[in-house]
């Protein structure tokens, strides 16, 4: 069992999300960087994909009662296990009665912690992912206890580790499809949309990432229509908003582009600020 000593800024349980209830108004949710979430599971050699802890800006401090293995993927944080540093993207043995302190982020935005065998957490609508009304208990709070089942193991051998590519956190090329309203922009507007080097603005969160350095283009509102994570909306006031995992299922802004799944994972880790650039690439 884990006891949460400090919850961090916004630490939540996440998995693949709720894919089957969109027509009932349920946001998909799930890990912002799905690749890092799957990777954590693969590195722990899980045959069944299990939920992980997602954290951002400053991670949680956790006390482990029983021995286990963990793995950290996604963004890199300052991490100490019983006051010693541990490696990223490689399974690490956790002795019983250990304290894991996940500090501030070093590179990227969203970090993940997977535990051997997975956490056994509550599921609502087939997912353990945090949702403010459906599953508010999936947000870490001080004193909260998280259960992992696998505490006895013989000769576990983990063969894989991953060398992270740091470049993806500061220069992000995003593959996109034209969105349903792309052709309601004229050619000059389309070029401006595609040629600009954007950056991620600080108000971004799990619902949407807003882009800065906007060219002077805008688009009218539309009759409320389906949207999904990765939909790029252009507003009447000229803002560009990329919907992320916790976005609503329908929206009323022009849908000018649509990110690929891969691009969405990359964008989720693109750091905030003008030093870091994101560009679109039409596929």
């Amino acid at each position: 069992m884990i006891e949460v000593l400090q919850p961090g800024i916004h630490s939540t349980i996440q998995d693949a999300g709720r894919l089957k209830f969109r027509e009932q108004g349920v946001a998909v949710g799930g890990a912002m960087d799905q690749h890092a979430f799957i990777l954590a599971n693969h590195l722990l050699q899980h045959t069944e994909i299990a939920p992980v802890i997602e954290f951002t800006i400053k991670g949680p401090t956790l006390y482990f009662y029983a021995q286990t293995f963990i793995v950290l993927t996604g963004a890199e944080f300052h991490v100490k296990l019983n006051d010693k540093t541990i490696s990223h993207a490689s399974p690490v043995y956790i002795p019983a009665e250990s304290t894991l302190e996940i500090g501030h982020v070093k590179k990227g935005n969203y970090g993940y912690l997977g535990v051997l065998g997975g956490f056994s957490t509550e599921k609502v609508l087939e997912s353990g992912s945090f949702h403010p009304t459906l599953l508010p208990s999936a947000k870490l709070s001080k004193g909260m206890q998280l259960v992992y089942i696998k505490t006895h193991f013989n000769n576990v051998n983990f063969y894989a580790r991953v060398i992270p590519i740091h470049d993806k956190f500061c220069r992000t090329k995003l593959d996109v499809y034209p969105g349903p309203e792309f052709n309601s922009l004229n050619e000059e507007q389309q070029q401006k949309l595609l040629d600009t080097k954007y950056f991620v603005v600080p108000s971004s969160n799990r619902m949407a990432i807003q882009l800065g350095n906007m060219p002077k283009i805008s688009a009218p509102e539309i009759i409320t229509a389906p949207v999904q994570p990765g939909t790029v909306q252009l507003t009447p006031s000229g803002q560009l908003i990329v919907l992320m995992r916790d976005a609503q299922t329908t929206g009323g802004y022009s849908r000018v582009l649509q990110l690929t799944d891969y691009a969405m994972n990359s964008l989720s880790q693109c750091e905030i600020g003008e030093r870091y650039e994101a560009t679109f690439h039409l596929i």
Binding site: E23, L134, P180, I223, T224
Partner: protein, 244 residues
């Protein structure tokens, strides 16, 4: 007459079906029929879907080919007689609402500002049969057909941080119900004791695209009585068939 929709790819695993850009019950009915027909016929590859006013999106499982599925969708559209094969069994749900204190937080303000008496607001609000166009914004939140201009009222300048579940509101020419407690900027005119989103059910949302609702005014004692029955599971919602 079948209107041919545009069917195109929407992201890595999505397909979008687009009818002409209009909020129109006839277009929406055809969209809903065609959407349900496809969801049923391709249940093995469609993981999820979203219906809106004149568009629906289908999200396929990652192994399915989007291009091939688009071809099949077009083929099915040409083959099927939607009105004949797809019976939607549209139903009118009677939604009991208590338009009294302590629930009707903003009804006095609307009455004073629009110079219309409270009983008249209730009468105008309960008269129509509203189509449920779709569920969006939040789990179980219905997008309903428009209300009479007599009781339309702009959204609150600053939203409330907490609106209780079951609250019935007005924003512009729209009326809606908050299925869960959440922040919100709609003017609250009453509350329904029903549970609009029950995670214990296979289909948690009480209402779905294509349904109809009519509000029915109840007093505080009836509200409390129904609330008790809903909690114990003994309440059954009044439904009737919808005739065009």
């Amino acid at each position: 007459m079948k209107k041919k929709p545009i069917i195109s790819q929407f992201g890595d695993h999505g397909i979008l079906i687009r009818y002409p850009k209009k909020i129109n019950q006839r277009i929406h009915k055809e969209l809903t029929q065609y959407t349900h027909y496809l969801v049923k016929g391709f249940a093995d590859i469609i993981e999820g879907f979203t219906i809106a006013y004149q568009e629906s999106a289908f999200y396929l499982n990652p192994e399915a080919s989007v291009d091939e599925t688009i071809e099949l969708f077009v083929q099915k559209f040409n083959e099927v007689d939607l009105s004949g094969e797809v019976q939607l069994n549209a139903q009118v749900f009677k939604i009991p609402v208590c338009y009294e204190a302590p629930f009707a937080l903003d009804i006095q303000e609307i009455a004073e500002s629009k110079k219309i008496k409270v009983p008249k607001i209730i009468k105008v609000h309960t008269r129509p049969v509203y189509p449920v166009y779709f569920i969006g914004f939040a789990p179980g939140f219905p997008y309903l057909g428009g209300i009479s201009k007599k009781i339309s009222f702009p959204r609150k300048a600053s939203p409330r941080t907490k609106v209780k579940s079951g609250s019935v509101g007005i924003a512009g020419t729209q009326t809606g119900i908050y299925p869960n407690e959440s922040p919100g900027g709609w003017n609250i005119i009453g509350r329904s004791p029903l549970n609009f989103f029950d995670i214990e059910k296979e289909n948690p949302s009480l209402l779905n695209a294509g349904d109809y609702i009519q509000f029915e005014a109840i007093d505080y004692a009836t509200f409390k009585n129904i609330e008790k029955q809903v909690k114990s599971g003994s309440y059954s919602i009044q439904k009737s068939g919808y005739n065009d």
